[in-house]
């Protein structure tokens, strides 16, 4: 980042009286602003940006995180009998309801979770073990599960075990298949 280059050249010019006059140092400044980012080994400034030492130390000690704000999880979706599939980002949905609504729209038919019947298509998925399972049995993901539980104010250890075993839908889904309604 250009910060320390431009800062150190400017502030050092005001300490050392042999440095050029203000107008010249501002020219130096604009030149140094075009320097490309230096290597990560340069020494960090202790007085800029203006944050307190405790925050500075906390940030220094932090492991570098991959910026995961825009995580996405694209999976393939097939309609049974249709050779060409679609692709869908599951992270864009908040839960099963919005997923079903979106798929119904995408394929222009009604899709449900649950047992096969004559009228509706049923959504299934392939999990990380390669097995084909009914969509809707396990919690969508950890945090939304916890928040629904917390609204009812108490829950038991076995519920938590389900969470902590990470058998959350988003963790395990590999691809989706929409099955045809039953014929008989």
């Amino acid at each position: 980042m250009e910060v320390s280059n431009s800062c150190s050249s400017f502030s050092s010019s005001s300490v050392d009286s042999t440095k050029p006059s203000p107008s010249e140092s501002s020219v130096n400044l604009s030149l140094s602003l075009t320097f490309p980012s230096t290597s990560p080994q340069r020494e960090a400034r202790q007085d800029w940006p203006p944050i307190k030492s405790r925050l500075r130390d906390t940030l220094k000690g932090r492991r570098l995180l991959r910026r995961g704000d825009d995580t996405s999880l694209f999976v393939k979706v097939y309609m049974e009998g249709v050779p060409i599939g679609r692709k869908l980002d599951l992270c864009a949905f908040s839960g099963y309801e919005s997923l079903l609504e979106n798929l119904s729209h995408m394929f222009d038919t009604s899709i449900i979770c649950g047992n096969r019947d004559r009228k509706h298509h049923v959504l299934t998925y392939e999990d990380k073990d390669g097995d084909w399972m009914m969509v809707g049995d396990i919690p969508w993901e950890y945090e939304s599960y916890i928040s629904t539980c917390s609204l009812t104010c108490s829950f038991i250890i076995s519920d938590l075990n389900r969470c902590f075993c990470f058998s959350m839908f988003l963790e395990t889904v590999r691809r989706l298949k929409i099955t045809r309604p039953e014929r008989y």
Partner: protein, 577 residues
């Protein structure tokens, strides 16, 4: 009013609480001055070198609560060397000698020693409350004396201090008879904590309303603490690096659910994200949330927590929340009054597209009608955004914007940000505190001088072109009390234009500017009521008068008004002219 007996007048004065109002009252006449000074219980001293302990006690012999501030604000950012000053010991010694009935001491940016704390703990039988903010110089031994000797202790609040942690047993020093604690904050302590002693202390403190833990208090201990103290209003959580096991998590969640009075949450140093959901049950009650130390939690986890906090009035957070997260805040937190967004990437190491930009700021201003205080660190800004913010939020009292790269212009038009900040000062008629950043010319200071009539504190860094900039501010902002400037091209002409002005202000700081030693000397010459301090850490052998070059630029200048002349406790590299 002069026909009323003094007791009646004194009773009326009891209703006047703010120190500024009481200062005004005391100027009305001699009689009021006397009644006021003998009845004043709380005294606020913004600069400990503006007055001395003897004169303080002489004027307010009945004081019970004293607030003292020491180092200038830029000391928070390592611009003031540690031994510069601000020692509290002489104050405590004087108060003890005069047998003042001290009950409360609040210190900010002062040097506090174990000796001072020991003396404090032994000298005032009714001592109830100690609040130390950004102080240094003491260890947990000092805390142990406070714990052991202050029988009436209600509040021990340590915020952001540099404390040498001897890993001792200071928590054990609270006697078993101590049951009066209302507030205990030791979040800034770095060492281990005797958790058992803490649990016993919390269990015997039925009035405990505020508890802020440090890193060392583990998850299961937190659950037990909260079970003992369901009446807590303010909680600072420690650090939980590992994902919890189901049983501890359930216990924690059960304990948290019972804390229906909880209104303020902070801490979360190194918290594994999966612990956060344990707090979901109480989010709807929260008024204040400080996640500025939660550096390990990604934006999406923060967003999920905040979405539940519909009553939030104060939010401190890291920029990892992103513009997307700020949009969620804007949509959810309609009661928001104060927002602080801190930078999470100070070394420019991360290729960071998720940090906040002007988009987030505009979203907040549009969504939160009650917003009046903001501190915002970001990598880019535009004039258009600032103009929109000014239009959305004319009620700002505090507006601090820090663009991380100095001199950075509007990233779309490449112009300076003069117009943007100009819009802010013009719209926000009640603005009392302002920090500016980015590429700024003298023009922005013209606007500030013209419009910022209520401005009391202004922070300038890497801004301006000529002395005119500083002059616009000094001439225009009549209510200015604290002016702090760094790395800006203001020099002697601006400094010397109106020397009398500085007696109407608390202090002026100028570092890495264009003022010279000669200019400072001329300033100090006819100003007996100003202390003009030159701080030159690098210059060890500069005391030779003959070799002095008056054209030499001054590294750091700090001047402040005072009625007690030059201080005697300055270190060798601080020269008081």
């Amino acid at each position: 009013m002069n026909y009323f007996p003094d007791e009646v007048i004194e009773h009326v004065f009891d209703f006047v609480v703010s120190h500024r109002d009481r200062n005004s009252i005391s100027l009305v006449c001699k009689s009021w001055h006397k009644i006021e000074r003998l009845s004043r219980k709380e005294v606020f001293i913004g600069n400990c070198y503006a007055i001395n302990p003897e004169r303080l006690i002489g004027r307010f012999p009945c004081l019970k609560s004293l607030t003292l501030k020491g180092k200038p604000h830029f000391a928070d950012f390592n611009l003031v060397p540690h031994e510069w000053g601000g020692f509290v010991l002489p104050w405590i010694e004087a108060l003890a000698r005069s047998r003042v009935g001290l009950e409360e001491l609040r210190l900010k940016r002062m040097v506090v020693t174990d000796e001072s704390l020991e003396l404090l703990s032994r000298s005032f039988a009714n001592f109830k409350s100690l609040v130390l903010v950004s102080c240094e110089g003491f260890t947990t031994d000092g805390l142990a004396s406070i714990a052991a000797n202050c029988r009436q202790l209600r509040e021990l609040d340590l915020q952001e201090n540099e404390i040498d942690d001897h890993r001792g047993q200071w928590l054990n020093c609270f006697p078993d008879s101590c049951t009066t604690l209302i507030s205990l904050n030791f979040a800034c302590l770095k060492g281990e904590t005797n958790v058992a002693a803490l649990e016993r202390l919390v269990a015997r403190s039925p009035n405990l309303k505020s508890l802020k833990l440090n890193r060392a208090v583990p998850l299961d201990a937190l659950a037990r603490l909260m079970s003992c103290a369901p009446q807590l209003v303010d909680l600072g959580v420690g650090s939980y690096e590992n994902e919890p096991d189901p049983e501890s998590f359930a216990k924690l969640m059960t304990a948290i659910e019972k804390c229906m009075s909880l209104r303020s949450l902070s801490g979360f140093l190194e918290v594994a994200p999966l612990c956060l959901p344990a707090f979901y049950p109480i989010c709807q009650n929260l008024i204040s949330l400080n996640l500025s130390y939660a550096a390990e939690i990604q934006g999406n986890h923060l967003i999920k927590l905040i979405q539940l906090c519909k009553r939030l009035q104060r939010l401190w957070i890291l920029d990892s929340i992103g513009d997307k997260g700020l949009a969620v805040v804007a949509a959810t937190c309609k009661e928001l009054q104060e927002l602080r967004v801190f930078p999470s990437d100070v070394h420019g190491e991360e290729d960071n597209n998720a940090a906040v930009t002007e988009v987030g700021l505009v979203a907040i201003s549009a969504g939160c009608p009650k917003l009046h205080s903001i501190l915002y660190f970001c990598k880019q800004m535009t004039n258009a955004a600032l103009i929109a913010v000014a239009k959305n939020c004319p009620n700002f009292i505090r507006f601090r914007l820090c663009i991380l790269e100095p001199h950075k212009p509007d990233h779309i038009t490449s112009q300076s940000l003069d117009e943007g900040f100009g819009a802010i000062v013009q719209a926000c008629k009640g603005l009392r505190r302002l920090s500016v950043s980015g590429l700024l010319t003298d023009q922005v200071f013209l606007y500030i001088g013209m419009y910022a009539e209520q401005l009391e504190m202004l922070s300038i860094a890497f801004a301006g072109d000529t002395d005119k900039g500083m002059l616009y501010v000094l001439n225009g902002c009549k209510k200015m009390r604290k002016l702090e400037i760094r790395d800006s091209p203001f020099g002697n002409a601006a400094l010397l234009a109106d020397v009398g002005r500085y007696e109407t202000m608390r202090s002026l700081w100028m570092s890495s500017c264009e003022v010279t030693l000669g200019g400072c000397k001329r300033l100090a010459q006819n100003s007996p009521r100003l202390n003009v301090e030159i701080i030159n850490e690098n210059e060890n052998n500069r005391m030779e008068q003959n070799e002095e070059d008056e054209r030499e630029k001054v590294d750091k200048l700090y001047l402040y008004r005072t009625v007690v002349g030059t201080r005697k406790d300055a270190p060798p590299y601080v020269r008081i002219l």
